[in-house]
C-alpha cells in the first residue's frame, strides 16, 4: 500500500513530465483501472493503479481508501457521485460522527471482502461469523457506525449478533453486559407482563384504561385537545416514592422538575376532584408525581371514574360505527394510549401502595365494590 501511496504523490510533483493523462472514471461499483505511463526520468515504469479517495473521520484524521472498497458503502458512494467529493485532500469526504478510524477500518475490511463478486455464499457466511467475533462494546460501536454509513448488510449482521447476546439472558446479565443503569427497581416488581393470572390490581388497571378512554372521547367532543409530545419519564423511582411519603427526595433530580411538581402539588390542594381529572388530561406528562402528593384526592378521582359502569365489550359495537368516526376514535385512542403509557409507572406505583394497605381486605369480583373498599379508609 505504501508504494502505491508514493505513486500517487509522484504525479502531482512531476506533472510536467507526464505525457499521458491520468483519468479515473467510475460507475457506482465498477472501477476502471487506468494505466499510468511516465516519461523522462522514470524509465520504463508502467504501473497499474487503483484509484483512491480521501476520507476524513470525525476526529479530523485523513486517510486514503481504495475507491472500489469504499464505494460499497452507500453513504460514501453518494458523496462521491452526487457531490464529487473525495478526489483530493481538500475535498475529503467527511464521515458522520459515529465513525471513528477503528470502526472505519473494520468496515473497510468487511467491504473489501464482500465487494468481490467471486465469493460463494458459504464463504461469505463463514467470513461474517468470524468477523462478528469481537467484544460487545466494539460490536455496538460498529453497528452505530455501519448505520450512519447506511451499510445495511453489516447493520443486519451486527444487530443479529447483538440479539444473540441478549437472547435468553436475565435482565441483570443484560444490564451488566451493556452497562445499563438499573433505574427501575420498584417498577420491576410491578412488571405488568408477569403472568399473574388473577391479579385484581391488573384487572383494576384495565378498567381504568377503559374508563379513561371513554372520558377522552367525551372530552374530544367538547373541545380540542392538542396531542402532546411524549416525554420520557426519566426521573428516579426514589423520587416518586418520596413524593408519596411526603419526604424530600434523596435521588439526584433536576431542580426544574422538582419545582414543577411542587407547583402542581399546591394546585391540587386547591382544586376539587373533578378538576383534578382535567389537570390529569391536559398535562399528562406533567402529572408524573404531582397527583401522588395527595393520595386522598387521587382516590376521589378514581372513585369518580368508576361511578358509571365500565364498558368492556366494545368489540361488536365498533363494527357498526361509521368509518370516518372510527378513524377519529382510533386516533384518539392511540394518542390516549400513548399518554396513558407514560403514566403507567405512576399508576402502578399508586395502586401498589394502596394494595399494600389493603392486603387484609377481601377482594370482591365486583370492580366497583373493590374500589369502594380501597377508598373508604383513605378518605379523610
Amino acid at each position: 500500500m505504501s508504494e502505491l501511496n508514493m505513486a500517487v504523490i509522484k504525479p502531482e510533483e512531476v506533472i510536467s513530465h507526464v505525457t499521458a493523462s491520468y483519468r479515473c472514471s467510475f460507475s457506482s461499483h465498477v472501477l476502471i483501472v487506468e494505466c499510468f505511463v511516465l516519461e523522462e526520468g522514470w524509465g520504463r515504469v508502467l504501473e497499474m493503479m487503483k484509484s483512491y479517495i480521501w476520507i476524513e473521520t470525525a476526529d479530523g484524521s485523513l486517510q486514503q481508501v481504495e475507491q472500489e472498497v469504499a464505494m460499497f458503502c452507500p453513504f460514501i458512494c453518494h458523496e462521491v457521485i452526487q457531490k464529487g467529493m473525495g478526489s483530493s485532500k481538500n475535498h475529503a469526504i467527511s464521515l458522520p460522527q459515529r465513525v471513528n478510524p477503528a470502526m472505519l477500518s473494520l468496515m473497510l475490511d468487511y467491504c473489501r471482502f464482500h465487494q468481490v463478486p467471486g465469493h460463494s455464499n458459504k464463504e461469505r457466511k463463514s467470513f461474517d461469523e468470524k468477523f462478528i467475533r469481537m467484544d460487545t462494546k466494539r460490536l455496538c460501536e460498529l453497528t452505530s457506525a455501519a448505520d450512519s454509513l447506511q451499510l445495511k448488510p453489516l447493520v443486519d449482521l451486527t444487530s443479529r449478533a447483538l440479539a444473540r447476546i441478549i437472547e435468553g439472558k436475565t435482565p441483570e446479565e443484560i444490564r451488566e453486559i451493556f452497562h445499563l443503569p438499573d433505574d427501575l427497581t420498584e417498577e420491576e416488581k410491578l412488571e405488568p407482563l408477569k403472568n399473574i393470572t388473577d391479579d385484581p390490581r391488573i384487572r383494576l388497571l384495565n378498567r381504568l384504561y377503559a374508563k379513561k378512554r371513554k372520558e377522552l372521547k367525551e372530552r374530544e367532543r367538547i373541545k380540542n385537545v392538542e396531542a402532546e409530545e411524549e416525554r420520557v419519564d426519566d426521573r428516579s423511582v426514589d423520587d416518586l416514592l418520596s413524593f408519596i411519603n411526603g419526604e424530600d427526595s434523596k435521588g439526584i433530580k433536576t431542580s426544574k422538575n422538582r419545582k414543577k411538581n411542587r407547583r402542581k402539588k399546591d394546585q391540587l390542594k386547591n382544586t376539587s376532584p373533578s378538576e383534578v381529572i382535567e389537570i390529569n388530561e391536559q398535562e399528562s406528562n406533567g402529572l408524573k408525581g404531582s397527583d401522588l402528593g395527595e393520595t386522598s384526592e387521587k382516590q376521589d378521582v378514581t372513585d369518580e371514574m368508576f361511578a358509571s359502569k365500565p364498558e368492556f365489550d366494545d368489540g361488536d359495537v365498533d363494527d357498526e360505527i361509521d368509518p370516518a368516526l372510527k378513524e377519529k376514535i382510533d386516533r384518539e385512542v392511540e394518542d390516549f394510549a400513548r399518554r396513558l403509557n407514560s403514566d403507567w409507572p405512576e399508576r402502578m406505583q399508586e395502586i401498589l401502595s394502596l394494595g399494600q394497605d389493603m392486603k387484609a381486605l377481601h377482594h370482591s369480583s365486583n370492580g366497583n365494590g373493590t374500589i369502594r373498599k380501597y377508598t373508604d379508609p383513605e378518605q379523610k
Partner: protein
C-alpha cells in the same frame, strides 16, 4: 446511584430506534418484551415493534394445559395492549392455544393497525372461525391460515394488495376460494393444502408460485400466464377416481396449457395420473421453453397414458436441465403383457435432443420395460448429460442383474455421462 457515570458507559441504549427494532425483532417476543425492565430508556422500546411473533416460547411450560393456555392469552393480550403504533406482521403459531374468543378481539385490534401479514396456526381442537374483521384489513399482503373456517362476507371485494395466500386445512366453500383468488389482483404465490375436494378454476393473472396438496376434483389453470413454479401433490379417493373415469376433457391442457413461462414443475402421488386423464392432447400447442426442472414422482410406467404424459412433457421442454422421475410400478404384476415399445419411436420426434439436460435421477425403478425405454431414450438424446442416477426399488431382487445388463448396452450421446447405480 451515581447515574452520571453509568450513563457514559451505556453501550447500547443510544443506538437509533431503527437498529433497536432490528435487534428486538431478532429476539423471541418474550425476550423482547422483557427488555422493558432493563432501564427507563428501554421501558417502551419494544412497544413500537411492527412485527410480533407469538409461539410456544412465549410462556414457561407447565403441565396444566388450561393454565398454559390462559397464560398465553394473557401474555398476548397485555402485549397488544401495551403496544404502540402500527403492527405490520402478526404471527400466532402454537398448538397450546385452541380457538377462543380472545383471538377474535386480537384480530379486531390488528385490523385497525395497518396489518400487512397475518399468520395463524392454532391447536388441533375446534377450528377457529375467522371473524369478519379480517376482511377489513385493506393492506394485507400475506395471509396464512391453518385449521380455520373461512367465510368471506358476500360483499367482500378482495384484498387488493395480497401477494401471498396460504390456506392449509381450511374449511371454505370452493366458489369462495375461487372468488377470493380472482379478486386479489396482485396475488403472486398461492398455496392450498388439504382443503376438501375442490373443483377449482384459478384465475390469477400475476400468479408466479402455485403449491397444491390434497384431494382435488378438478383443477383448471384458467388464467395464470406468469406462473413460474408449480408443485402439486394430488391424493385421490375412490369418488374422485370414478369422477375421472367419466371425464373426457383433457386434464393436461387444462392444467399445463397456459403456462409458457413455467420454470419448475413438481408432481407427487397421483399428479401424473391426473394429467393423463382425458383425451390425448396430441401435439402440444405449447412449448415450455423456460422449463428447466421437472420432477415427477410415483409415475406408473405400466399405464400408457401416464407414460405419454411424461413423453409429452419432456419432448416439449427444449431447455430442460434436471429431470427426476420415480416409479410406482407394481413389479409383481403380470409380465406377460404386451408392451408397446414402438410407442417411443412413434411419439417422440426423431430429431428430439436434450441440449441442456445434465442431471437425471430415476428412483424406485422396477425394471419395467417402459422405464428402461425412458432411460434409453434419455441417454441416446442428451448431449451434455453428466449424471444419470438410478435407484432400484427395494422389492427388486432378482431383476437387478438383468437391469444392469440392459443399462450397460444403452448408447450414450454424451461422453461425460456417468451412470450411477445406487445400491442400498
Amino acid at each position: 446511584m451515581q447515574m452520571g457515570d453509568v450513563a457514559a458507559l451505556d453501550l447500547i441504549s443510544d443506538l437509533p430506534q431503527s437498529i433497536i427494532e432490528i435487534i428486538l425483532t431478532c429476539l423471541p417476543i418474550r425476550d423482547a418484551v422483557r427488555t422493558s425492565i432493563l432501564s427507563t430508556k428501554w421501558r417502551y422500546r419494544w412497544a413500537t415493534l411492527t412485527e410480533l411473533v407469538f409461539d410456544g416460547t412465549c410462556v414457561t411450560l407447565c403441565n396444566d394445559r388450561s393454565l398454559l393456555e390462559k397464560s398465553i392469552v394473557n401474555f398476548i393480550t397485555r402485549a397488544l395492549f401495551l403496544h404502540q403504533g402500527p403492527i405490520h406482521k402478526f404471527k400466532l403459531s402454537t398448538t397450546y392455544l385452541q380457538c377462543c374468543p380472545d383471538i377474535d378481539q386480537w384480530l379486531l385490534f390488528l385490523s385497525r393497525n395497518d396489518l400487512k401479514e397475518l399468520i395463524l396456526e392454532l391447536g388441533e381442537g375446534d377450528w377457529f372461525r375467522v371473524p369478519s374483521c379480517l376482511f377489513n384489513c385493506k393492506k394485507l399482503t400475506r395471509l396464512e391460515l391453518h385449521r380455520c373456517e373461512f367465510d368471506p362476507a358476500p360483499n367482500f371485494k378482495g384484498f387488493s394488495s395480497l401477494r401471498s395466500l396460504n390456506l392449509d386445512q381450511v374449511l371454505v366453500a370452493p366458489d369462495a376460494i375461487e372468488c377470493l383468488i380472482s379478486s386479489c389482483p396482485v396475488l403472486e404465490s398461492l398455496s392450498l393444502t388439504y382443503s376438501d375436494s375442490l373443483d377449482l378454476n384459478i384465475n390469477a393473472p400475476n400468479l408466479k408460485y402455485l403449491y397444491l396438496e390434497g384431494e382435488f376434483k378438478d383443477v383448471c389453470l384458467e388464467n395464470t400466464p406468469l406462473l413460474v413454479e408449480i408443485s402439486v401433490a394430488m391424493y385421490m379417493t375412490d369418488d374422485i377416481a370414478e369422477h375421472f373415469e367419466q371425464s373426457s376433457s383433457c386434464n393436461f391442457i387444462k392444467f399445463l396449457g397456459g403456462v409458457p413461462l413455467l420454470n419448475k414443475l413438481v408432481g407427487y402421488i397421483y399428479f401424473t395420473k391426473y394429467l393423463s386423464i382425458g383425451d390425448d392432447p396430441g401435439r402440444l400447442p405449447i412449448t415450455y421453453s423456460q422449463l428447466k426442472i421437472i420432477e415427477l414422482h410415483q409415475v406408473s410406467f405400466e399405464d400408457m397414458k401416464e407414460i405419454m404424459v411424461v413423453i409429452r412433457l419432456i419432448t416439449n421442454s427444449p431447455n430442460l436441465t434436471e429431470l427426476k422421475v420415480s416409479g410406482s410400478s407394481n413389479s409383481l404384476a403380470a409380465t406377460e403383457e404386451e408392451y408397446d415399445l414402438d410407442l417411443w419411436e412413434k411419439e417422440c420426434p426423431s430429431d428430439c435432443s436434450f441440449n441442456h439436460l445434465k442431471f437425471v435421477k430415476m428412483t424406485d425403478i422396477a425394471g419395467v420395460p417402459h422405464e428402461m425405454e425412458l432411460i434409453k431414450f434419455l441417454l441416446k438424446n442428451s448431449l451434455v448429460l453428466e449424471t444419470m442416477s438410478i435407484t432400484p426399488c427395494v422389492f427388486l431382487k432378482d431383476r437387478k442383474l438383468s437391469m444392469l445388463i440392459d443399462l450397460v448396452r444403452f448408447r450414450r450421446a454424451s461422453d461425460q455421462a456417468e451412470i450411477i447405480f445406487v445400491q442400498n
